[in-house]
């Protein structure tokens, strides 16, 4: 009998929980699709060993489970809080504690199973779309077929069951903590909510201060970071500083909603006398009082999600950019291997260019904040200006260079991407016989560093290149048209092994302002000095595919997890707005009876929704923007358009849910 009553109650509430279902179904769908893909053999095989497809998708599913847990636990708590009256009526009817718990648990199970079935159904239908997006993102040469996985359904079912079990325990815990005296307490809460005492004002001021200082530190991050790094070391210093900023923002956000905003709301200017302004103020005040934790959590979590997305996007854009850095041409190959390959290359039209490098002992001091100065002599690769300019013709990413004097040089550095703000290169490079002055430092687009010996690379005049003694070696650059790349790569896979060869040995020291020691060919004695090899070739297509597939995968997973998260939070807010509204209806009926025009009442509804939806969203947006500015100091030159897209998406999703809430409430009125 009890079950029948519960079922009836559930059916009645079904329409009210639409939003709740919507986000649950969405989460189940994403989870299923991710899990199904981990069982999709053709996809895994074509993604190859290099990309951690299964691991990454697993991580994504795990994140979705976390979001689901957060969402369910939070919503469940809210439902039970809202149904305190029901609980006391049940008590009155003589239902005992376990029966009441059973009631709620069964209800949540109905909800869970309903959304599980719908979510799986949609997931099965849409998993092809998901796979297609993934394949597109990873740029895999693969045809996607409709795929159905019982394993994935079972896995999803287990996860849903697990979450429902957790929520059931939460119900047991929440209902047991309930007492009748709560009703009385609830009564006095409204007065508490309206009054802002002195210590609350102090906390409010602290909250604002924390937020502002967190933001200020983020804006002036590099200034603080240098100082902290000098004290604690580069990595530790940065982690410490980021941790501090994060903490400031988290505590600040909570305090902001709990006290700062309430302090502001308690200020009551005369203009609020118009158009029910004071009513929206007081409603907002009530909401803040009872739900500051929720608003704080949403803000922090949203900000964090967007910041993580930003970090990922930065990584991806740098990685994709580095493809051009590592492989500026279709094929870069050692002269020795080229000579072997050349007879077979005749079938493909190509352009060829030789790059002559000279490995020389050199010393340039590099100071990294917090890590001290590195001034050991090392091997540098020298390239002549004429070679540089010749290569520039096929590789337009190289910047124009005009050397000002015979001893001038331009450094090509591959460390330009990360930690640019922390490194400081000295302006003088010591060679064995002479000193060079560094004119400029450019990013290095000369291809894979593994194909060269040196750690650094310098461009010098032709005369200087010829005069300086060193070890000369040549790398051949082969460029083919795009349509021939596939053919070229087939040939490469057949003919080349990608071995490391041509070792050199060196032992260098810095004594009496002089570089001592030499570079010799061959492996040399093992005990002293160092031996370096260089790799055989770098193919643009291989590098591109590898970067693209792993980065595409990362973006894919992060995108769906973030979207799920945004949708989940927005629907949590919506749910609250809608269920609160039922209690507020009496208030609006009163306003109508007083002769307040409907237009004003709708405005009031919109205003009440607006603050609830957009205050957390905009605060989270500020947090994430500033987090991005911090990240951008560490990873220079990254593209962030993807994150901005998501910030926009978040606002759009929130606006959509806001609109739905307003329309629905207007209908209920």
């Amino acid at each position: 009998m009890l079950i029948r009553i519960i079922w009836r109650g559930f059916k009645k509430q079904l329409s009210n929980y639409l939003i709740f279902f919507f986000s649950l179904i969405f989460a189940v769908m994403v989870y299923y699709s991710f899990t199904a893909m981990t069982y999709e053999q053709p996809l895994i095989r074509s993604a190859g060993k290099n990309t951690q497809l299964v691991g990454m998708l697993g991580f994504g599913s795990f994140a979705v489970v976390l979001i689901l847990l957060f969402f369910m636990a939070n919503t469940n708590r809210f439902f039970i809080e809202n149904r305190r009256k029901d609980i006391s009526i049940f008590h009155l009817y003589g239902l005992n504690y376990y029966q009441i718990c059973l009631w709620f648990i069964l209800e949540i199970f109905f909800i869970g199973i309903f959304s599980f079935v719908t979510g799986i159904g949609l997931g099965v239908l849409l998993s092809k779309l998901f796979s297609m997006i993934l394949v597109k993102a990873m740029d895999l040469p693969l045809q996607v077929h409709f795929f159905f996985s019982t394993d994935a359904i079972v896995a999803t079912g287990l996860v849903v069951l697990f979450i429902l079990a957790v929520v059931s325990f939460q119900i047991l815990w929440l209902v047991s903590g309930y007492k009748f005296s709560h009703l009385k307490k609830l009564h006095l809460r409204k007065i508490q909510a309206m009054k802002v005492s002195l210590w609350k004002k102090i906390l409010g001021a602290i909250g604002a201060l924390l937020l502002l200082s967190g933001w200020g530190m983020a804006v002036a991050y590099i200034v603080f970071a240098r100082k902290v790094s000098n004290h604690f070391g580069l990595i530790e210093g940065n982690i410490l500083l980021m941790g501090i900023i994060f903490l400031l923002c988290v505590i600040g956000s909570y305090l902001f909603f709990a006290y700062t905003l309430r302090w502001y709301n308690s200020y009551r200017p005369k203009r609020l006398n118009k158009n029910l302004g004071m009513l929206s103020r007081s409603e907002w005040q009530l909401r803040l009082f009872s739900e500051w934790r929720f608003f704080g959590s949403i803000t922090v979590a949203l900000g964090l999600a967007l910041a993580i997305l930003g970090g990922m996007a930065a990584l991806v854009s740098l990685q994709m950019r580095s493809v051009n850095e590592i492989a500026p041409a279709s094929l870069m190959i050692t002269r020795e291997s080229y000579e072997k390959l050349a007879p077979k290359l005749t079938s493909i039209p190509y352009q060829r260019q030789s790059l002559h490098f000279k490995a020389v002992p050199a010393k340039q001091s590099v100071e990294i904040s917090g890590e001290g100065v590195n001034s050991q002599p090392e091997i540098m690769d020298m390239v002549s200006l004429s070679d540089y300019q010749a290569f520039q013709k096929t590789n337009p990413t190289l910047k124009d260079i005009h050397l000002k004097s015979a001893n001038s040089t331009v450094v090509l550095s591959s460390y330009q991407r990360y930690l640019n703000d922390y490194t400081h290169y000295s302006k003088i490079i010591y060679l064995k016989e002479r000193n060079l002055t560094v004119q400029e430092t450019h990013p290095n687009f000369f291809g894979d560093t593994n194909m060269r010996y040196g750690t650094g690379m310098i461009v010098v005049s032709d005369a200087l290149f010829n005069e300086t003694p060193g070890l000369v070696y040549t790398v051949e650059v082969v460029d083919v048209k795009h349509q021939n790349e596939e053919k070229l790569n087939r040939l490469i896979r057949k003919e080349l092994k990608g071995d490391w060869d041509f070792p050199i040995h060196y032992e260098l020291a810095w004594k009496n302002q002089q570089i001592i020691g030499d570079i010799t060919e061959g492996e040399g004695p093992k005990k002293e000095g160092s031996t370096i090899y260089r790799s055989e070739y770098t193919s643009h297509q291989e590098v591109y595919r590898m970067s693209r597939s792993s980065m595409g995968l990362v973006l894919f997973v992060v995108t769906f997890v973030t979207t799920t998260f945004i949708v989940a939070t927005a629907s949590m807010v919506t749910l609250r707005q809608l269920s609160e509204f039922k209690q507020k209806r009496k208030k609006y009926a009163l306003l109508r009876q007083m002769g307040i025009p409907d237009k004003t009442i709708y405005q009031e509804i919109k205003r009440e929704n607006r603050v609830v939806f957009f205050f957390p969203a905009i605060l989270a947006l500020i947090h994430s923007m500033l987090a991005l500015s911090v990240i951008s100091h560490i990873a220079k030159n990254a593209d962030y358009w993807f994150v901005y897209l998501f910030c926009g998406l978040m606002l759009v999703v929130y606006a959509l849910f806001y609109w739905v809430s307003c329309v629905y409430q207007k209908k209920l009125l």
Partner: protein, 255 residues
């Protein structure tokens, strides 16, 4: 005297053609300006329905209701809204105050959509709250004050827009006897000083004895009317007598 409320042939029925419930049946009466009129009758007599029609919340099935010369049954919704705001005031049994607003904000709530200046609003609040003796609790919240004070706050809210007619639906229903007589005295005072016409629905003879005139309705029809001509005590006796006649809607009187 000017007729402020003129009800002619008022009928109201609910339900479909086959299942019709007639609540009001050809009701006629008038109320003059400055009168304090009570409406009494047993449960189910149609008091609340009448009140809802007069206060423009319900539409009648037939008949006309003129308030201050304007027929409210013929008005459009937007005009009705303005009419309600400018010409009518309401007091309810359970006060209907908004807990999260101070007493003062509750009182000025209806004026927030008007074009009155802040000074004018302040002045009205001060004047009304002085009469109702709630001027010292303006910054308090409804839950912090007594029920009597809460009902007076509701009265102040109803009167702040200087309505022509004040409708009160069982205003003393939630009050203890002391607060009830206090409240009625204040209402009387408002009726005298502000010349507000008051129409009050009640089933309590003591409350009704504060009126100048009491209309009795039964089963949706006008039953009788008594007018106060002497002391309140005598009037109270008369009301009780009439209530006994009408039968209070008990089983013995049921048709």
């Amino acid at each position: 005297m000017e007729k402020i409320i003129n009800v002619q042939h008022l009928s109201k029925s609910y339900g479909t053609r086959n299942n019709k419930v007639s609540v009001l049946n050809d009701l006629n009466f008038t109320v003059e300006k400055g009168e304090f009129v009570g409406i009494m009758g047993p449960s189910g007599a149609g008091k609340t329905t009448l009140m809802n029609i007069l206060s423009t919340i319900l539409l009648p099935t037939m008949g006309s209701v003129k308030i201050a010369g304007a027929d409210i049954t013929q008005m459009r919704e937007s005009r009705l809204t303005d009419f309600r705001r400018e010409k009518l005031g309401f007091i309810f049994q359970d006060f209907n105050l908004i807990d999260s607003l101070t007493v003062k904000d509750n009182i000025i709530l209806p004026l927030t959509v008007s074009k009155l200046s802040n000074d004018e609003i302040e002045e009205r609040v001060l004047r009304l709250t002085r009469i109702l003796k709630i001027d010292h609790i303006l910054e308090r919240y409804p839950e912090e004050i007594s029920v009597g004070q809460q009902q007076r706050t509701a009265a102040a809210r109803a009167l702040i827009s200087k309505p022509l007619v004040l409708f009160a639906d069982e205003p003393t229903g939630s009050l203890d006897s002391k607060s009830a007589s206090e409240f009625l005295n204040y209402l009387d005072e408002v009726n005298l000083h502000e010349e507000t016409t008051i129409l009050m629905v009640t089933h309590d003879p003591y409350t009704a004895s504060y009126c100048n005139r009491v209309l009795f309705i039964k089963d949706g029809r006008f039953f009788s009317e008594i007018v106060r001509r002497s002391s309140r005590k005598d009037f109270f006796e008369k009301v009780i007598d009439m209530q006994a006649t009408i039968g209070g809607g008990g089983k013995a009187n049921a048709d």
